[in-house]
Symmetry: C5
Subunit: 339 residues, 5 copies
């Protein structure tokens, strides 16, 4: 395929693509479904075009043309395996990141790609899934809560990124509780083979999460430092705050990874300890009874001339020797701290 | 929640928020409880507003407004899981770090977030806990000891950071003594399963400590290099000293981590060694007695025609063979260094 | 050998070197086999000379001289173990990379070196193998599809690099499916010794792949940032896209490597678990039967005076003791969770 | 304590502090004990004040005041756990490093902190220990050997650092010989449990050594690149040489660390191998004799009707079977390479 | 010793130091043994003084003085444990690197230090060993082959470095073949204890090789970027090529190191697997025969009243039970995949 061909690579293809257009200023707020404003002919104020579910590539190409988005950026919107990134184009910024949640049953990270374009007085957002992750942002704009209506498209873009990144704390909490559950189970029930698989799954999830966040940190830091003319200086602290959040989440993940290594170490140690206990029991039993059995075997021999057999207290004498030997060995094991 | 909403995320919520205001210059020192000076209407000299216990978000918002602190910074003050950081705002610096001490019983790091704002002739500090970590600083200012009264707000900020960071040396000492105790116990009593858990806990604590210090080092270095106009050039060596202290603590932590790995290695080696000893004993006992028992078993068979049974010295001959075989095997084990 | 001597170090030496020349502009497209245009005397428009199979060093030297390529660069073209790299010469850029595919049977990475020179209005490409990896690019140019005919030699070079790098996704997919196969086999059949070798081979392949990509990432990033005058500013987003692709592939590889470590850990854990089970069975059997055998051995002794032997229910009494002891031990093992 | 309080943290407190003053130029050399020149009133030429043993903080404070040293630097001089560092003050440089030697018996690194101030025409050195590490430097100056008398204070500072760092090569040699001894013992005597502890100690020592050198490398490199006006351009190669030495020592340490890992690996492998041998012997003995004992047990049963017992050659037949079985098993073990 | 004292630290001290002087231009070539040209009075054209075997420190000091080399550089020439490095002096460049070859028998890296000075129209080279590593360079110059005679001293220096670095490929090939031999032996003969030592030696060699190359890469890169006026711009591509070669060799080494880790992993896995097999055999034999022996022991007891003993088919019945039990256990082991 020549570069720039639009192909949707996501796996959720049953839902129709929906386009919501919003335009607002400090005084007014309008909303219209299935309407794509033209670049040359935009409504006054700040426009926000939100596209959900990316199955209809033709419609998405039409949105891209109407709003003069770069074909390579549109291609990235549809390729849902993108790394988080910030790209600067001639008339705006393009940000890709992922909404994440943890499928607690299979301990898998479920990802929805979200792409945001920001230009002079307009924002375009593309959500991979049909359900609206950005609902709270639109609601706040609609009701005039917070600062959204008073500020420019950079604050709207920030609000979108913020709501997506805020949700990562939920994923963190889910990972933490899974980790704590594992730890307390290890404490109360001892090491189970099923735990090994859970440790592995948790490691995989934290590693995937980390792989998502490392490029996101770069992208957010570059956004905060961007000299794009559409970013208002007064809004920089918000972008810095975003960057702090990502760094904080990464810190927690690194922390969880070290905890996981520790839990794995404890698991291994208990398994090894258990093998030691098993071997110790085997050795104690064998060391006591094998020599005793040998003695019994000796006096079970059928030689004609075995004088001890005819002693009157021979049997009791041998029993006494056996008892003494086994008590001696028990004392030895006690001294060696094996018992 | 829209960004900038003030929510206290700490866990100590039973104490009322207290505000202490102090203002001083080289000649005078005044102190007043439960009083928040207004930005436009500050007392002459250097003002220091100290807030302890962060439960009353309304009061804290009032302090923030009175002293014109940025809403995002206030939000950070209340979110007590912040990473240590330095932020530069229009009229001042904002520093977040943590007072730390080691709960020696559970080997856990207990953290209290401390946030400091510094602007022209004023400092605002927020302590998460109701007890006053900064008492010594105020006392020195009150009694006119040291340089505090002769210098500006930058030196006051430095004194606050210094007293918090100085306390980290206590944590270091606690970790070191826990490590030494572990090492000497391992030497005297041998490896115990309880030690594995202690090694794990110590690793977790040093790792958490390190996670706190890495961003702190960056923040302190940036403070030392900051071109903020409220920092007096003559005070730079003090800030550099702070940065040296953090680097020194980090060095010690890295050192402890390597020592811990070494102790863990010794622990593993002793456990492995013990298993080897157990297996060796089992093998020696089995190798000696299993063949002997077999011989005894042979002469315990009830065949009609077993000529050896009727030899007069058959029994003693067999006993002699058994004795020779076991001595031979003992010599073999000796040569193999198993005994 | 003095530096600059041309020696072909590849292993495919049976095919004759072929030269295809193409020249085109937006309106026209010409193609001629076995023809090398002279630098001073090039056809109008953009020239593309494509050389396949590098066995004929004399012919390649002639191409190099005709198009004024640097002798060291020509030497690199023929040394097929080069690292991916970008070099800037006086009148153009020189890029080396490798076409890769996975030999799925032996899990080996097969590599074909591809070198591209780009100068004012001309591109020279050298393919190590006789089959044409770049066919799709020429076809698009010939049929006037895509943007190739409308753009300069930088876009042609980009198209060549893009088609080679796009093929890496196929290698990624092959590695992923090998990994999934391994994982599911481990799940269904348990750990097999053959899997250890497969894990090793997969590790080797991903490591080789990564070794190819790390310098390629640098080279592509430097290409994107190059200030070479023959790169049109409007084409930079395409080069950035290339760099994104390489970063994305590297991310996936790092991900696979962590998954492989996880799978290896699970493999080890199952092997260790199996050893534990074996030892446990041995211990249970021994612990139950060795003491019982000892009791039997005692009453197999031939002492004259053994009163129990003459008790009427002595045998049944001893059998009862044996039964009780073994049930007791079974209960003990049950409590210890060994059964 | 307020910052800048002088407290000596070293552990050698029994010796009195001694001050030696030296002043020289190309023609003359003077030396006077227990004399501290005043900054304003220094003798002509280059002054070198050398302080040994740091117990008398009052005297050291007097030296500091007389020579106008910064209070924070003086505090660092007395805190003997400093990291190696270079600090630039208004009228000079301040360098901290450590004299090191290896206590070969306990394999411990013994450290003496040495601090050097260098300003226009004067040098002040502080040695933690009473014995004079810098004797050779003063002797060369006194006798007019080498370049010391012809050059400025920067060369004197260089000579001091050089003599301290040169001594590190002795530590390196000691570590190397301990490592070689360990390796050859492992070769000749096989793995001993005492070796594990020695490996651990060597690892700790190399790690401590490395922790000292990493910041030293930075400090020396910064010294070499410093734009301090008191450094003569013609002396830069000497400072670069110093930096090379530290890099070379670090290289050797990294090399020893890898060798240590290798020795540890060999140790582990031999321990593992030994366990394998023990288990193999146990298995061979058990596998041969347990079945044979069973056969003997069968014919030791007391059933009335056991026809084989009455065969004339039954006993010899059974012995033959036993012999055949054990030879067969020996052949099997031979084929399996267990013998 | 004061810095700058000349001491030869190499171990080959039996050969006399030899000095060969060469001077040439595009037209002429002269050569004279045991002759050191004076700096002020050099022959016309490019002079190359080649010193072999460094035992005669007085002669080397004379060479240094005649050609005005810096005393510290001369000291480095004689200290044959230098790290590879490039140093820029006032009138020229100074490069240290090492000729390497692999002693295949002991798997040890044998190193010869080679130092090169390059100034305006002259080159001085010092070879640690008496045999001439640079023969091919002189021969090419003498016979006027290649570009040496047409170019300046920078090209001569390049040729010297190139011939030394080219030889590293031979070391690489030797390492690779040792690695392949190890791998194929592991495949065909299984894990042998001798292989562990070989893996360790190979690891040590690759690690030493890498330690040599890392600083060499820096030095070569700095040479390529050096703004030394004696480097002709037209020769930069040659220096870049040198830097590429070192990077390529480092890549191969990293690759071999990962392969070695893989081979080590396979070795460990086979050793572990073998232990598993041994334990499995022991467990199978014990689990089958210990219970059977117990049954035999029961009927070997001498109680008066044991009814089974008197049953006519008691013996055969018991034999049948034994047979059934052992077949049952064999089936169980088969199901558990232990057989």
């Amino acid at each position: 395929m020549p570069p720039g061909t639009l192909i949707y690579t996501g796996h959720r293809t049953e839902n129709a693509t929906q386009v919501y257009s919003v335009w607002y200023n400090e005084a007014e707020y309008h909303e219209r479904e299935a309407y794509v404003p033209e670049w040359q002919n935009r409504p006054a104020g700040i426009s926000w075009v939100d596209v959900r579910s990316l199955t209809d590539t033709a419609l998405i190409e039409r949105v891209g043309n109407a709003l003069q988005l770069h074909p390579l950026a549109l291609e990235d919107v549809l390729d849902t395996q993108q790394r988080p990134k910030l790209e600067e184009y001639d008339h705006g910024l393009f940000f890709i990141l992922h909404g994440l949640h943890l499928d607690a049953e299979h301990l898998e990270l479920v990802s929805e790609q979200i792409a945001v374009f920001m230009g002079p007085a307009f924002v375009v957002s593309f959500q991979e899934d049909p359900d609206d992750t950005l609902q709270a942002v639109r609601k706040r704009a609609q009701e005039g809560l917070g600062r959204t209506r008073k500020k420019g498209p950079d604050y709207l873009m920030y609000s979108i990124l913020d709501i997506v990144i805020d949700h990562y704390y939920v994923v963190l909490d889910d990972i933490e509780s899974a980790l704590h559950e594992l730890e307390s189970e290890l404490h109360s029930n001892g090491a189970q083979t099923s735990q090994k698989a859970r440790i592995f799954e948790l490691k995989r999830v934290t590693s995937q999460f980390r792989h998502r966040l490392l490029p996101l940190r770069d992208a957010v830091t570059r956004l905060y430092r961007s000299d794009c003319p559409y970013i208002d200086e007064a809004n920089r602290p918000y972008l810095r705050d975003l960057s702090d959040h990502v760094a904080q989440i990464l810190d927690s993940i690194d922390n969880y990874r070290e905890l996981l290594s520790g839990v794995e170490g404890l698991y291994q140690a208990e398994i090894g300890n258990r093998l030691n206990n098993v071997m110790r029991l085997l050795t104690i039993i064998s060391t006591i009874f094998i020599p005793l059995s040998f003695i019994a075997g000796v006096y079970g021999m059928n030689f004609d001339n075995m004088p001890e057999l005819h002693w009157h207290y021979g049997y009791f004498f041998v029993l006494g020797i056996m008892l003494t030997a086994s008590i001696g060995m028990l004392i030895y094991f006690r001294v060696q701290r094996w018992l």
